[in-house]
């Protein structure tokens, strides 16, 4: 029998004691990341009737990337709620819904469109748990399709994670593969804290195996996805694919890279990075975002503190440039690719 996802006409199935979940994944299968997130949302909505989705075009259209495809048909328009076109209103309403006992999952259509909602996120969502002295959790998830490589117009290709990682009270995560996408979405929704969920939109259609019976690592755990001994390379989301490509090329040239998938951008799980750098003595952090005051800056600084005597070279960053994200014809020049990562690895190895 083939496993099922993404269609509401499948027979109900049981998975890992969660009871009857119509349309839920039942066994291992290859899924693109977008469909894995869809399956994660479906599982979370089946498990808890207080999980509601809010966003622009998430209903009949299934979102501009089809991540919510079929969910409104399955759960109704009172749980998959198409909103007016106003991001601050979407996030502000989600906060109010959380105060009313719901677990809202917000879709922001593109990375650059989160900024109309930044006040609600930074001054309200992030601070409410503290302001209310923990009397009531604020379990809002904000899904943010982020990053370049899609040849789009302005505001559609950005990587704004540093703003959120800088903000106390928020948790920030980013899956790089389908299995993590499926599980991390459910973990984020179960979290009592606000979670900004960065989705690597360039990889929405990259397939990977999802195992609905094998829970992924904890939400805020960083993982080593390829072992190596010469240099540690760290990234998240879409960048992990680039790092794995770089490692493949390096291996053909006799250099082994240890590839670390950050997964959690706030808090950062430093122990696996420190352990890796203690082994390799070298660190390269790669990111699509501009490097100035970036996540890479923080990781480099922290590793300089925590692994100083292991480092054979200064921690290096490979980033977008400190310019506005350029027009699409230039994105290939702007965004770090495997060659740019390897150039930094070479520099690190020259010390």
């Amino acid at each position: 029998m083939s496993a099922t996802v993404g269609s509401s006409n499948q027979r109900p199935a049981t998975d890992q004691g969660a009871g009857e979940r119509p349309g839920a994944l039942t066994e291992r299968q290859e899924l693109p990341i977008a469909k894995a997130i869809n399956a994660g949302l479906r599982a979370a909505m089946s498990a808890d009737e207080h999980v509601v989705l809010l966003g622009e075009d998430i209903g009949p259209l299934g979102g501009v990337f089809r991540v919510t495809d079929g969910l409104q048909r399955e759960f109704g328009s009172a749980r998959v709620i198409d909103t007016p076109l106003a991001e601050a209103g979407i996030v502000g309403s989600a906060i109010g819904l959380a105060m009313a006992g719901y677990r809202p999952v917000v879709e922001i259509q593109f990375d650059g469109f989160v900024f109309p909602a930044i006040n609600q996120i930074v001054t309200q969502l992030a601070k409410l748990t503290s302001r209310q002295a923990g009397a009531q959790p604020v379990p809002v998830v904000i899904r943010l399709p982020y990053g370049g490589h899609i040849g789009a117009v302005e505001h559609h290709q950005e990587s704004p994670e540093a703003y959120f990682a800088h903000t106390a009270g928020l948790r920030v995560v980013a899956p790089s593969n389908a299995h993590d996408a499926y599980w991390m979405m459910q973990q984020a929704i179960r979290s009592d804290d606000p979670v900004i969920f960065f989705e690597p939109k360039a990889k929405y259609w990259q397939k990977g195996e999802v195992d609905p019976l094998a829970l992924a690592a904890p939400l805020h755990r960083t993982t080593v996805v390829r072992s190596g001994t010469d240099c540690t390379v760290v990234g998240f989301g879409a960048m992990v694919t680039t790092l794995l490509q770089a490692a493949e090329i390096a291996a053909s040239e006799g250099t082994t890279l240890e590839v670390i998938d950050l997964r959690s951008l706030s808090p950062i799980d430093y122990d696996p990075i420190v352990a890796s750098v203690e082994k390799t003595g070298r660190l390269v952090v790669a990111q699509e975002a501009p490097g100035n005051a970036s996540l890479g800056s923080e990781i480099a600084a922290t590793l300089a503190e925590r692994a100083f005597y292991s480092l054979q070279a200064p921690p290096l960053r490979v980033s977008g440039f400190d310019v506005p994200f350029p027009p699409a014809k230039l994105e290939g020049v702007y965004l770090p690719d495997a060659d740019r990562v390897l150039e930094a690895v070479d520099r690190a190895l020259q010390y």
């Binding site: 328009s77 502000g92 009313a100 001054t123 209310q132 002295a133 106390a168």
Partner: protein
């Protein structure tokens, strides 16, 4: 006399469209005589079941808050509060609307709704915590004793979106209970039996959040009542800088029922809020009340209103002081000196208790800033707390805990 904006707004904005602003709804004239405006007639039956004892309680509420409010200004002048935002002059619409709400309605205030918070049960000392610098909130929003009054919000307008979302939650609750899984665009409203009230002011009305909250409330026909207290001044900027149209008309533009009331007449706020809240709870959609009032004091204790407004204006509003007007009305209803003397004593005693409670508030423990950053465990925050405690302890170790350092 007819209430007017500081500027003659209506004539500036007609653009040839026939739009006459009805007289603001009022039951009491400036002297406190019962003299309903023509526009008040249709709301008069909302007052029929209000007893004289209840009206006296409203007076007690207003007087008690005025005394507390005045005490807090004193405390700020004495260096005991970092800041205070007086509500003097705005007690009238707050008391009426607060008493129009049901116990299970929810309230989203800005930071000048001391009367609303008091009527809902929030302790005066808790209100002052934020201004004393010991807390960013002050009370437990989940404690029934606080009457579903959410915390004060300082980034103005943000709370109107939370209120709108909360009211959407009330719609979803009702739908789930009814087994209705759909919320279609353009569908009629859903009876909820409960409502949500958002307070804001004339300055805040310019914030995009307020407009967005109206878009959402109208779209989903949520049981939201917005109360815009137009006190004429956003710190130093007059309402005519905020809007060329009366503020209630903005709500009309979003498809929300809206009226202007005399904000210094508790009866007007009460009657209209009762009617609008009942409609909201019955699934007839959101409402908006523009309460015309006046901030008789400063914006906050850091403000100097003499720099931007003239004495004549302040005096003209002082004559319409909601507490004075209501006292005259109650006297006409037969309430005697004994009640007013007792109320004054009660208000003074309450303010004294609040003062003592505020002065007795302990400074927060340094470690407390790490306590509720997140609801779930967070190792990095825990580590910072441990570091701070060790750091602080290192001084004790260096200098001795008995204060015995040379």
């Amino acid at each position: 006399m007819r209430l007017r904006y500081t500027g003659d707004v209506t004539e500036m904005t007609s653009f040839g469209v026939e739009m006459v602003d009805p007289e603001p709804i009022r039951f009491l004239d400036d002297e406190g005589h019962y003299a309903p405006s023509g526009t008040a007639q249709e709301f008069a039956d909302e007052l029929e079941r209000v007893t004289l004892d209840e009206l006296c309680q409203w007076y007690v509420d207003m007087s008690t808050v005025r005394a507390f409010d005045t005490e807090c200004t004193h405390l700020q002048r004495q260096g005991q509060l970092a800041l205070w935002a007086p509500s003097v002059g705005q007690e009238g619409c707050q008391v009426g609307i607060a008493h129009a709400a049901q116990a299970d309605d929810h309230i989203f205030p800005t930071y000048r709704e001391h009367t609303v918070a008091h009527v809902r049960g929030v302790d005066f000392v808790d209100i002052a915590k934020q201004f004393r610098g010991v807390h960013h909130g002050g009370w437990d929003v989940t404690d029934p004793a606080n009457g579903n009054c959410r915390l004060y919000t300082l980034v103005l307008g943000a709370q109107t979106q939370h209120a709108s979302g909360f009211a959407l939650g009330q719609v979803l609750d009702a739908k789930r209970e009814a087994g209705n899984t759909q919320l279609a665009p353009g569908e009629p409203g859903t009876p909820t039996g409960v409502a949500t009230i958002a307070f804001y002011g004339d300055g805040t009305s310019s914030q995009g959040d307020v407009s967005e909250s109206m878009v959402f409330a109208a779209s989903y026909q949520t049981p939201l009542l917005q109360v815009v207290q137009n006190n004429n001044w956003a710190i130093s900027v007059p309402v005519t800088r905020q809007s060329r149209t009366p503020l209630y008309r903005r709500a009309l533009g979003f498809g929300i029922r809206a009226v202007q009331v005399d904000g210094n007449d508790p009866l007007a706020g009460y009657a209209v809020a009762r009617r609008f809240l009942a409609a909201a709870r019955a699934g007839e959609g959101p409402g908006c009340i523009e309460a015309l009032t006046y901030r008789m004091g400063a914006h906050t204790t850091s403000d100097d209103p003499t720099r931007y407004r003239v004495d004549e204006e302040v005096e003209s509003w002082r004559r319409r002081d909601p507490i004075v007007r209501f006292e005259r009305y109650l006297r006409e209803r037969g309430v005697d000196d004994d009640f007013f003397a007792a109320t004054a004593a009660q208000a003074d005693a309450s303010a004294k208790r609040a003062r003592e409670g505020i002065l007795a508030l302990p400074d927060p423990d340094p470690a407390s800033m790490f306590e509720h950053v997140y609801s779930e465990p967070h190792e990095a925050i825990d580590a910072q707390r441990e570091w701070l405690l060790d750091y602080e302890a290192s001084f004790e170790a260096s200098f001795g805990t008995e204060g015995g350092a040379a």
